[in-house]
């Protein structure tokens, strides 16, 4: 082998070895510095300052900040964090850089509004964000819907929710449901039916699998809440009739209180606890469950929402 070939071979082998080595060392460094990037994210917290510094490339920067906001929320949500300190400023920077980035308002409000661990528990910031979005995109009916949704679900301010739906119903191409919602709000505020109608509209009006999956998960939780309430009433009736608690759902069927053993939305039969409480078999399958889970149950982070949204 001549000298030039030896050098080429040695350099080639060294190159591959160094590449593999550097990737291995880098993964060790990453493990040492977990979370460092996102904690450093807001060196400049003023949205206006960031916009000026973008030198006109604000669209691209908005996309980057939106991705950072999603990462930040996703990371903390996965870790079941109790606070989301940087979420509101990240969304403010994103929407200041690009006030027409609709997705940042729609998703952002959904990140901000619900109580931890499902969201940041900041409904006031969520309404501010959506109001800012409405000021910049007055013809987007989805933003009014989002606003009404937050007022209805999270702050329970039904009057403002009705007003938001009514404003939205006057925009061009508005979903016809907005007018119905605005009209029915005064009469049915607080009903499970109303909540079901809102989540159904969310499911129907969005193409995003994540949003649709979230809506399905909430609808399933509402279904369970209704089922558990009804079944618990039957358990009470059984107790009054026989003087003892039923041991299983089969006892309710045998007593002609039920035609068959009832199934939860995942197709599994409901079960009875030794204390006579109606429960689902796998509560982890229903991330937003409020009734039908064992006492002290802590739900894990919602998973596979995209699958549900298909």
């Amino acid at each position: 082998m001549n000298r030039s070939r030896t050098v080429t071979m040695t350099a080639g082998i060294l190159l591959v070895a160094c590449l593999a080595g550097s990737a291995a060392v880098l993964s060790r460094i990453d493990r040492l510095r977990t979370g460092a990037t996102l904690e450093d994210v807001l060196f400049v917290s003023s949205p206006k300052a960031v916009k000026r510094m973008s030198l006109g490339y604000d669209g691209l920067l908005a996309d980057i900040y939106w991705t950072r906001a999603v990462q930040y929320f996703g990371g903390r949500h996965e870790a079941r964090a109790s606070h989301y300190r940087l979420l509101a400023p990240l969304l403010a920077i994103t929407t200041t850089l690009d006030p027409h980035l609709d997705v940042a308002y729609e998703f952002g409000a959904n990140f901000l509004s619900p109580q931890p661990p499902n969201g940041a528990g900041m409904p006031d910031q969520a309404t501010q964000l959506v109001e800012y979005g409405i000021r910049n995109n007055p013809d987007n009916w989805k933003l009014y819907y989002e606003l009404g949704f937050i007022y209805y679900m999270d702050t329970k301010d039904y009057e403002r929710a009705a007003d938001a739906f009514l404003r939205g119903s006057k925009t061009p191409n508005a979903h016809p449901f907005l007018k119905v919602m605005a009209a029915q709000m005064a009469q049915h505020a607080g009903d499970t039916q109303m909540a079901r109608a809102l989540w159904t509209t969310t499911y129907q009006s969005s193409q995003e699998k994540q949003i649709r999956g979230n809506a399905v998960a909430h609808l399933r939780a509402l279904q369970i809440a209704d089922d558990v309430t009804a079944l618990q009433e039957l358990v009470g009736q059984y107790g009054q009739k026989t003087g003892q608690l039923p041991r299983s759902m089969a006892d309710l069927v045998a007593a002609n209180l039920l035609p068959a053993i009832p199934l939860d939305p995942s197709g599994r039969p409901y079960k009875l606890s030794p204390e006579g409480l109606v429960e689902v078999q796998v509560p982890d399958d229903f991330p937003f469950i409020e009734k039908g889970a064992p006492a002290g149950y802590k739900p894990p982070a919602p998973k596979n929402l995209e699958e549900l949204g298909k």
Partner: protein, 258 residues
């Protein structure tokens, strides 16, 4: 280091000095002393912070600019001036030429950084009147900056071995910017799915990682740097520089210089 590599390295260093590269030290001194005096008069209790942040940032940026703009011309300038033929007609191998150039430029940057470090510590003494134990971490930050220079030098040489100076500058500077955000890149890759995830992860590991080498803001607050990070960063910079140099050697070895 063999004698031929040492000769090329010392000539590269001398050439850089003759090109007045070290004149940037004057600008650095003016910047640092000006900031130290000005901030002391117009702000409250952040003089030391400003001196460390500004000083180390300036050391890093001045060095990066020098590494890129001197590094990109190391090979192409020799070809343009035809001095390369004189060198290679002697018993100097091509890989020795590349390694020598690398050490020469790295030496220039180390000397430059050393002079600037004296300036940073001088300004620190001026504003704080005495050194404290946490100030020692500034030395670690400086060490990391030098590691950063080694990676950039090797990349500049790699591009210089096959491209024009202008394109080499663009490539090297782009990689510096991408490397600064490399942690984000790896986070994005982790969020992707399927084939995109594999491609994005491969790209994320291929570009240099400068974010872990930047501890300026934490040392400014007197926060310690873990010994593990020092070891892994050193190892990473060594491996990455070697990889880029091997690439440069492979290309230069096969390049037709006729």
């Amino acid at each position: 280091m063999n004698n031929r590599i040492a000769c090329i390295a010392s000539n590269t260093f001398r050439e850089a000095v003759r090109d007045r590269v070290l004149y940037n030290l004057i600008a650095f001194a003016v910047l640092l002393s000006g900031a130290a005096i000005l901030v002391g008069q117009i702000s409250i209790d952040i003089e030391k912070l400003v001196v460390i942040n500004l000083g180390l940032t300036a050391v890093s940026l001045f060095g990066v600019v020098i590494a890129i703009f001197v590094g990109i011309g190391l090979v192409s300038k020799e070809i343009e001036k035809r001095t390369l033929y004189t060198v290679l007609s002697r018993p100097v191998r091509r890989w020795e030429f590349i390694i020598g150039k690398f050490f020469g430029l790295a030496g220039t940057l180390v000397v430059n950084a050393f002079c600037m470090a004296i300036g940073v510590f001088g300004a620190l003494l001026y504003v704080a009147h005495k050194f404290q134990k946490p100030d020692g971490w500034v030395l670690v930050a400086l060490y990391f900056i030098i590691l950063q220079f080694l990676i950039i030098c090797s990349l500049a040489l790699l591009f210089s071995s096959f491209s024009s100076p202008l394109l080499s500058a663009v490539f090297a500077f782009s990689l510096f910017v991408i490397g600064t955000f490399s942690e984000d890149l790896r986070n994005f890759a982790a969020m992707a799915q399927g084939m995109t995830k594999w491609v994005a992860t491969a790209v994320a590991y291929l570009v240099p990682n400068f974010s872990a080498l930047n501890v300026i803001s934490s040392v400014a607050h007197g926060q310690p740097v873990s010994s593990q990070l020092i070891i892994f960063n050193s190892l990473y910079a060594l491996l990455y520089s070697m990889m880029a140099l091997c690439g440069a050697i492979l290309i230069f070895q096969r390049r037709n210089l006729k």
